[in-house]
């Protein structure tokens, strides 16, 4: 006969219903025996007080045993029924979930689902790490870009300064100034040339 360990009941009560019934049974039995002992003791006490009594203590003891075995039989039979009622109606957890197991109802999770969920979490963690590394890389490049742009702007500023130098000295545009310089120097050159020719001519004359 397979024993129902009633573990779910034990989870709720903190003891097994069978153990509880055993405890009650033993206690009740002890009382029955004790009370029977007391009955026998009182009767023997009474008989002591009767002179030339024919009834011997052994007889009384036999009577007690007879009554007790009868009572014990009834007791066992009745207690069996009581135990059944206790285990079926009182010390049993019917088709419900205990509060600490509420999750089972809301989230019944099979092994596969749980593995899948854990795998999903691991993948997301990896993905998140990757994104964080990407962020570091992007930030690093942004930093680099800032430096490069600053350098390039610095170079451009130099060019602009050069430009300005020309302007500060009255020439709007460097190229034109250079062209006009070339033309002026050519004119100067020609004038020098002419002057030299004239002075030679004068010397000769």
């Amino acid at each position: 006969m397979s024993v129902d360990p009633m573990t779910y009941e034990a989870q709720f009560f903190g003891f097994t219903p069978q153990m509880c019934m055993l405890r009650i049974c033993i206690a009740f039995q002890d009382y029955l025996f004790e009370v029977m002992q007391a009955v026998e003791w009182v009767i023997l006490k009474n008989l002591d007080g009767i002179p030339d009594c024919e009834i011997s203590p052994v007889q009384i003891h036999r009577c007690t045993e007879k009554f007790l075995s009868f009572m014990k039989g009834c007791f066992d039979n009745l207690f069996g029924k009581m135990e059944q009622l206790f285990l079926q109606l009182i010390l049993c957890i019917p088709n419900i979930l205990l509060p600490e197991d509420k999750y089972k109802e809301i989230h019944p999770y099979s092994e596969e689902e749980f593995q899948h969920l854990q795998k999903e979490i691991d993948q997301l963690q990896e993905k998140y790490k990757t994104e964080l590394y990407t962020k570091q890389t992007l930030l690093a490049e942004l930093e680099e870009q800032k430096i490069v742009q600053a350098k390039l702007k610095q170079t451009l500023a130099l060019f602009a300064e050069l430009q300005n130098v020309g302007r500060d000295h009255g020439t709007s545009d460097f190229r034109e100034s250079l062209v006009s310089l070339v033309q002026n120097s050519r004119k100067l050159y020609n004038i020098t040339d002419d002057v030299e020719k004239e002075s030679k001519r004068l010397k000769i004359s």
């Binding site: 509880c20 009382y31 088709n95 109802e105 989230h107 969920l117 990407t134 742009q149 190229r175």
Partner: protein
């Protein structure tokens, strides 16, 4: 119909047990067993029997009270009544431990893992969006660097052209 509380049921069952035990151990039965003594002292027998019954019932009732006291049984049974009442709607067989703790634990832990997964998903999405912005900023920055380089190249070429012209000029100027 009306659900009887477990405590009341317990008391009723114990009372019934006692009634039947007393009915079984009737005075008739008692005197049959102690017939010599009964013939000798019928009143005393009656008194002893009454005392026997009273004492037995008292002892058993006290024991039940003690057990109720010890295991705080009334409160526990009332709590169970309440849980059963709340779970009455349960139609399909209620979950029970499978005997494989890891499996049983999954349902308890799952809500927290689901929460963790959702949080991670949000973090990943947020970080992806942030990285997209950073990537856009980088592309714009690269474009700007390119433009700056082009500008510098243009300036450099202009200066180089100028330099060439300068050299030509000098060459011209230097002509004998």
């Amino acid at each position: 119909g009306a659900t009887v509380s477990r405590v009341k049921l317990l008391d009723t069952i114990v009372d019934t047990f006692l009634q039947k035990l007393v009915a079984a151990g009737s005075y008739q039965r008692f005197t049959d067993c102690y017939k010599h003594f009964y013939r000798l002292q019928p009143e005393m027998t009656q008194r002893i029997y009454d005392k026997f019954i009273t004492q037995l019932q008292t002892s058993i009732r006290e024991e039940v009270s003690e057990i109720k006291e010890e295991g705080n049984l009334e409160a526990v049974l009332n709590a169970l009544d309440k849980i059963v009442e709340e779970g009455k709607a349960q139609k399909e067989p209620a979950w029970r431990p499978s005997g494989i703790p890891e499996m049983d634990l999954h349902s308890t832990i799952a809500p927290y893992f689901l929460q963790q997964r959702d949080t991670l998903q949000r973090c990943v999405q947020k970080q992806e969006a942030e990285n997209r912005q950073l990537a856009d900023a980088i592309l714009a920055g690269r474009k700007q660097v390119e433009e700056l380089q082009l500008q510098i190249q243009a300036r450099q070429e202009a200066w180089q052209a100028l330099h060439r012209e300068q050299r030509e000029l000098l060459a011209v100027l230097r002509e004998p």
